[in-house]
């Protein structure tokens, strides 16, 4: 596919790439937001925003992480909107026992936002440690720390390798 050497993505190139990763975007949004309809809305919004901005993407090799970043922003906006209506649902990191009693999906949803982002991208969307760092705009070391903590809370024994 095109977009070589700094040339902007065409709409056709964008739509092709977006088709390839929309399922993983949906998976990310679903774990973030907890409902099919909200996840679909979030993916719709992210894909639309990406389409409007794709001409600015000068480094197409970052496409996946770039579009994931857009999706994360959309999801966080929705979560902030929800927080104004209902009590904060997140459990503190110190409440390890509280996570044990929850189904895994719910436990992920109740993780602090920073830990949830890392665990979703690393172990459900399939991004590497470097790609996760790129998507979230944080150092790789921070990703490593957060994923370790999240795996501890969730009692998941998954590899922490890149």
């Amino acid at each position: 596919m095109g977009g070589k050497g700094g040339a902007p993505l065409t709409e056709q190139e964008y739509t092709g790439r977006a088709e390839e990763c929309k399922a993983k975007l949906y998976r990310t949004a679903l774990l973030y937001l907890g409902s099919e309809s909200a996840a679909l809305d979030a993916v719709d919004e992210a894909v639309y925003r990406g389409l409007c901005a794709c001409g600015r993407l000068r480094e197409p090799e970052f496409f996946r992480t770039w579009l994931t970043r857009i999706l994360i922003n959309v999801c966080n906006t929705e979560l902030r909107r929800r927080r104004r209506e209902i009590a904060v649902e997140e459990l503190p990191e110190t409440a390890a026992e509280a996570y044990d009693g929850l189904p895994l999906r719910e436990a992920i949803r109740r993780l602090p936002e920073q830990l949830r982002a890392v665990i979703v991208l690393r172990y459900f969307t399939g991004l590497t440690l470097a790609e996760t760092a790129e998507s979230l705009g944080i150092p790789a070391g921070t990703v490593s720390t957060r994923q370790r903590r999240a795996l501890e809370l969730l009692r998941l024994e998954l590899t922490e390798e890149v």
Partner: protein, 456 residues
Amino acid sequence: MERMEEYKALLAELEETPPALEHTVQRARARRRRRRWGRGLGIPAGSAAAVFAAFVLLVNLSTPFALACGRVPVLRDLAAAVSFSPSLSAAVEHDYVQYVGQSQTANGFTMTLEYLFPDQGQLLFFATVTGPREVESVMVSPTFTDGEGKALEGYSITCLSFAPGELSNAFALIPNRAEEPVLPGVLQVECQVDARIPFQDSGADQTADAVFTFRFPLDGTLLEQRERVEVDRWVDLDGNRIRIDALEIYPTHARLTLTQDPDNPEQLQSIRFYLEDERGRRYESGSSGTGILSLGSSYWCESPFFSEPQSLTLHVTQAVWLEKGREYVTIDLDSGRALSPLPEGISVSVHRTETGQVGLAFIAPEPPGSTEEHMVAYQVATMEYKTPQGEVRSVDGVSHTHAGRLWYGTEDETALPEDCFVEEYVLENYPWNTVDWGLHFTRRTAFDTPAAFPVK
């Protein structure tokens, strides 16, 4: 079920996607085609020729836009820097950004003026400042002139302190007449950088500063983006009549203008609200770009500019009122008691010193949502007071604290009730026994069910 089994089962479950996902990209393409490309240029939408003409027009006649097309780096850093703001995030996603990209170094500081959101209602400047390692935070105070050095008139500025090295919303230029701003084609801004360095061994704060001047063209085409929705509807809000005049929609914020019936028994001091469109999307009150809640009779909120809603409903969640005739409360400074009614839930405490200094504290219940990690307060009184002779004076400052005790170490030391905050004022050389202190409100209403009114 063991956690690993749960994980595998969840992975398998997530492999299934809903049928609606199939047409996600097609929906995005259709939505983009419906977007009114020529809005800011007056070119009719829906015409391929018009789209091409608009692009050619922008590139050939607008140097900043051409520069932007040619050299704007991937906006990753800016997207991260504005992730707190739905309006700014939408603006970035829709390329509503002018790249400045100028950097200067002096006196050990480097300032890079990176991006500008050319919203004619609030020009937002994003910059990075680096300096000596001991600098804890920086604040940039701008002064604007045109390309010929003539001072710009008719504007206000806001500026925030921010951490060194972080791309931040450093300052904003807010034209007084947003509907017809007088902005030059070339803007020059002198930036005074004040750095905060925490206590040194000497025990005194030290500050260092540097001054930079940046000069760049303003993209006039991006500036001319504003939509005005005329409403002109009188409504009853919480026992008072208010006219919703209009909704002005700018790319990074929106403004709801209201008029109050002069016969109302109370003056509306502030409202909290949100707009909701037909898809249930909300636009909360307050501009996340500048933090401005209101300006005169306009109440600011997040912008639906890029969402292109077909309808909008105003939902008022809170109203703050000041009863006419109760603008001041009389306080006996000897007994520390209010001699006229205070707003519900508010109490007062006084501490006088032998030198004539008076500490006056209003104690108020914390609002919902205030936590130890994120303490929130609201305005109780004003900085204005009247002497017993009726002379109007004002104090220079006010402080808000959530401390556990008032007047610590004095004979007036008082334990504060839990879940309260204190709004404290200090009077110097005040010899009288009473004071009439200005109140900001007499009544606050939080609506269990928001008061809803159609706007668009």
